[in-house]
Symmetry: C2
Subunit: 527 residues, 2 copies
């Protein structure tokens, strides 16, 4: 039996040039007396202290003295920055006590309801990087399985706002609305934000839109906007741009608005978990933190959308409305047609092409994208106290048709930092053709998204899918339904194989067309 | 927009001297063209290929060319070993497709029942390190929340056996039994295995016992045995030792018997999850893999034990019996008294002292540990077809009292590799005293375990608790109830503070003593 020496001795702090993203990692040499004394093992959770500050980190044991020496305490890049103490400073390491909120996490795992204080404590610990990946995953799965009730969702949302920065536009708008538009996702090509923002900004409304990157989709608004302009903007730049142009289309991740949500998403993504409670908290916390007072929310419904039935859509809508109302956010949640992709392009470059065509009133511009964007922009514009109910659509259309939205989009692009773009899709192509003649009766959003991802989107921005037929259109046997674009042979082969197994289109008789779930299209905006 | 270059170019393989335990980590330089082209981010899951072999790994992005150069692909130690290709060899890296069983995991997260093939696929992927920590945590939480039904538990157990090595003792025992004894845990000081193994081995039975290290307790059998002998034995050594001495007391983790379970435990531990299904699969898969044909299972019941009521104990017993029967394992599950710790010592050295005192028939030997071990050993001995029912206890007692168990224990210790031990507890002490006079009416197993852990156990092997009073014993106000041993001032202070808040003992009137749940003590072995 080897008896350990005192673990109270100190080590010298050293940054290790490894980016471990949100996970703090500490590197200690295997022969470090403290490692041996305290019985640390790889992946132990430890507390690192220096100069009165401390962080929790996961231990990696090092066998190479060039990385860290036996008397050194190495920290991964973000961990070193988070601790905020200079290199060479004395540092201590000890077994970490679990973060204070772990007892509440265990109660949630057992299926209990959490109180306001529990959720605030959990989110504070998450935002301060005190949760390991394993604990994060447990929180995400547990709150997915034992569904959060509406007050738990409210408190989760509140807590997520509390740990981030919050923008305040009162100086800019006085008592007027700060507007935003958001979609719950799941519909390929649904890039209405990139149209709504310049339209409502041109109308004079303040719209500090932040978007996310693709989680499981072939492109998020941030990925598509990234084709045209810089989207990773420091907080102060973002504020200045919105002041200047009344709008922005930035990535929310670097804006520090909802740090806990950012961390949770890094776990939800690989698990493909998107529960109603987490969705509501994630969306509303970011909107409120961005200073929005009025939000139009797009909830698409369809057989392969995130929400598959009207009752489910109504439940989700009411959950959004409950939480928004409690937090003082004016919410107009609209249930839309989610039976198929919107527009033609799927993938960053192809979607950016569609958006620019609509803004430029190009003859090839996809009319469904144009119509949906005008309807949503109209709803946002009706938040303007000077606009009569039912007038929004017409105002939005006039702004678009007069080229004022295009002009505003260029202003936003220049303000964020214009890229030298070409909107040419990737050169390697494969056409997926109809096996029979008839009418397109179904397009599987999930399948189209998956094929576009295999083709390389969003990492390869000009990869993706160009849809040539949509629901209800007539096709002849052998006629192309869509074209896959890829940059690499292997990507094209993967996408082609998946499309070969099931291309995501169904061709049949017109009578088989699924009815449109949403009542959105029938609203009085078909002027 | 920067268009990526072809990601098909290759890198040179390089081991990086970092131990990341079960998680494969790949280190790529931020300026590596492949990282930039493919849009990899830190914590992306990637597939590394070389020489026709491949592994999945998590990406850490490196900014220091001394760790890995821009044309190198670094692998953490275990990942490098797992890939099994020489340094300097060409290697490729690509976005990882999720492991094949992820669809089944998602179904479990949604609450569906899994089929046999699903569970086999999940466990095979886990054993081959294809699951990230996040995915492992999701599996553990999901199977904990939507409790597995008994066929799911059976298939999980089967799958865990299938991915490991399996010992076969038929050459040693012919058609005779290969026996084992196991406890579900939760009772401090319950080190009966270290008595049962030498007793039944001395009776001539083959008992290839493997044990675990402490998960949330102050000592597992492997930790306590580690005080006396080497426990981390290579597979072939373990087999040779059992052949020679008919028994062993080894750590199961290095024996390759249930690799998937080892990985799952690394996630269950920080989450403090120990669901019935996972417990049954974990225990029975290891026993069957170790070649056992007959198992005595100890299920302690008490207000602070893992199992808190007789109905719960019966349900767990039946689940164990169902799975064991289907897998051809003879199981004798006994429900025992779990109202308080067993023996006096809590912590590796203190428990080893108790065990050796019982083996040596020392006058201070704790009689409850002796009695329980004899009863369990008796049950094991009754698996011997030549022993009459009810004779086991007497045979076990005769073996112990004749010194034959002690002799066998020394043989096992020598075979595994004797350590130079002293069974002196750590020098710093603190006595916890009774606040009033009366009778000890409750001892909180969890509280005692937690105080012993704060004192340093099991990492500091001679730290822990020495119990001076047990249930039903009379104490005077101010009389010591137990003594905390620690090696470091800080540890002692932590333990003292916790004991000060609540020492885990209740002193009251004799009438308040909780009744014993278990019927075990009344069985016909009180000879």
């Amino acid at each position: 039996m080897t008896l350990p020496a005192s673990p109270s001795s100190t080590l010298r702090l050293r940054p290790v040039g490894i980016d471990t993203f949100r996970e703090n990692v500490v590197y200690l040499h295997r022969d470090c007396p403290i490692v041996r004394a305290a019985g640390f093992q790889a992946l132990s959770k430890v507390q690192v202290g220096a100069d009165g500050r401390s962080i929790l980190a996961v231990l990696n044991v090092v066998d190479d003295a060039r990385l860290v020496d036996v008397c050194e305490l190495g920290l991964s890049e973000e961990a070193f920055a988070r601790l905020g103490v200079a290199e060479g400073h004395e540092a201590t390491v000890a077994h970490a006590e679990p973060p204070g909120s772990i007892a509440a996490l265990h109660r949630k795992i057992r299926g209990e309801r959490l109180e306001r204080d529990d959720l605030h404590a959990i989110i504070a610990d998450i935002a301060q990087a005190r949760y390991s990946k394993v604990e994060l995953a447990a929180f995400v799965v547990a709150t997915n399985q034992f569904e959060l009730d509406r007050d738990e969702v409210l408190h989760l949302t509140e807590a997520m706002i509390a740990v981030g920065r919050r923008l305040d536009w009162r100086r800019e708008v006085g008592g007027g609305p700060v507007v935003d538009k958001h979609c719950i996702g799941g519909i390929p090509g649904n890039r209405t934000s990139m149209l709504v923002v310049p339209i409502v900004a041109a109308h004079g409304m303040l719209c500090p839109k932040t978007s996310s990157r693709a989680i499981t989709s072939p492109a998020g608004t941030a990925d598509t906007m990234d084709v045209l302009a810089e989207v990773a903007l420091p907080f102060e730049r973002l504020v200045a741009i919105v002041r200047e142009t009344r709008g922005c289309l930035a990535w929310g991740g670097t804006a520090e608005l909802s740090p806990a949500d950012d961390i949770l998403i890094s776990v939800e993504r690989p698990l493909a978990i998107d529960s109603p409670g987490q969705m509501v908290a994630s969306i509303l916390s970011k909107k409120i933190a961005a200073g929005s007072t009025h939000l139009v929310l797009d909830i698409p419904v369809g057989p392969t959308a995130k929400v598959r039935s009207m009752p489910e859509a109504q439940r989700l809508k009411k959950l959004f409305e409950y939480v928004a109302a409690r937090l003082g956010l004016h919410l107009d949640a609209v249930i839309t047609d989610g039976r198929q992709p919107i527009g033609r392009g799927v993938g960053p470059v192809l979607e950016a092409r569609d958006v620019m065509q609509v803004l430029e009133s190009h003859p090839d511009a996809p009319s469904d994208l144009r119509q949906k964007a005008l309807r949503l922009a109209g709803r946002v514009i009706e938040f303007d106290p000077d606009v009569r109910g039912g007038e929004g659509f017409r105002i939005a259309r006039d702004i678009l048709d007069a080229g004022r939205a295009l002009e505003r989009m260029h202003a936003i692009i220049d303000a964020q930092g214009r890229r030298a773009w070409t909107l040419e899709p990737a050169p390697l192509t494969h056409e997926v053709r109809a096996a029979r003649s008839g009418v397109v009766t179904a397009i599987d959003n999930l399948r189209i998204a998956r094929i576009a991802r295999l083709a390389g989107a969003p990492q390869v921005p000009d990869a993706g899918i160009d849809l040539l037929k949509k629901l209800g259109e007539r096709v002849e046997a052998g006629e192309p339904l869509y074209r896959v674009h890829a940059r690499f042979d292997a990507d094209l082969a993967f996408a082609r194989d998946l499309a070969g197994a099931d291309g995501g289109f169904r061709v049949g008789e017109a009578a088989e067309l699924p009815h449109e779930f949403a009542s959105f299209a029938t609203l009085g905006d078909a002027l």
